[in-house]
Subunit: 125 residues, 2 copies
DNA sequence: TCGAACCCTCACATAGATGTGAAGGTCCAC
DNA sequence: GTGGACCTTCACATCTATGTGAGGGTTCGA
């Protein structure tokens, strides 16, 4: 598919799709006219990238972890350098902390909202 | 406490502490000499702000949700406008999605790391 | 064959979080 | 009372993710 369709299906601007490619996060074949030609799987890929970006990971890190998440993987175990392992472990822990922070604060918001609802229920009763 | 101590205890530059204050995320009393004077609770507050920033929330949103998380709360139920409620609900859901994305990808990283460990174990055996 | 709707690259602009440094005031220990 | 280590404000710099637009090629249907 071409960039316009991918943009529409992922809710991502063409500009950003080109940027993600420039950052090595997605790949695109090229037609004889130079147009980008995306595989069907690119849709999920872009969505995954956007999710990670939205969760605060920089493209630099996303680029490093993506290949390990592919099935089939783009990085096989023998290729994993100790540095990469260390990066992945650090990032895994960092993501855990991030998620915890997110859930903790989300629960607090939810609790507040529940209290508001209860207050309104009592007030209007 | 003064800004230097808070910076050290939170691992945050003075510059950023002033920035967070400018954005309305933290407050500081002022001594007669103009120096900022932070309460003990500022340490936790700053840490919370940093966690949320790191998880991808912009200061604008953090500023909105923080008052609802305080104990005692800075925003009481009668003060909650419908717009604020809507913002909080949207943000709560957004945080849930972010956390899910984070945990899903973290689990995939963990799985990869487990597989690497297993591979290394077999290879070295 | 023309126009609309795509696509390309390149480059400059913006917004948010952060760094850095200048110019200057305050406090304290020697 | 002087020097060093704090503090203040202000302003400009940087990085990353993004927007926007210019200048130009391609495809396709009327």
């Amino acid at each position: 598919m071409r960039i316009g369709e991918l943009a529409e299906r992922t809710g991502t601007s063409r500009r950003l799709l080109r940027y993600y490619e420039e950052q090595g996060l997605i790949v695109a074949a090229r037609g004889p006219n130079g147009y980008r030609d995306y595989a069907e799987a690119s849709v999920d890929r872009v969505l995954q990238v956007r999710g990670l970006l939205d969760a605060g990971l920089p493209t630099r890190i996303i680029k490093q972890i993506l290949p390990c998440l592919d099935q089939p993987r783009a990085i096989y175990f023998p290729d994993a350098t100790p540095e990469m392992i260390a990066t992945l472990e650090a990032e895994r822990d960092r993501m855990t902390r991030r998620a915890e922070c997110l859930l903790r604060n989300r629960d607090a918001i939810a609790e507040y909202l529940d209290a508001v609802r209860e207050y309104d229920g009592v007030a209007s009763a």
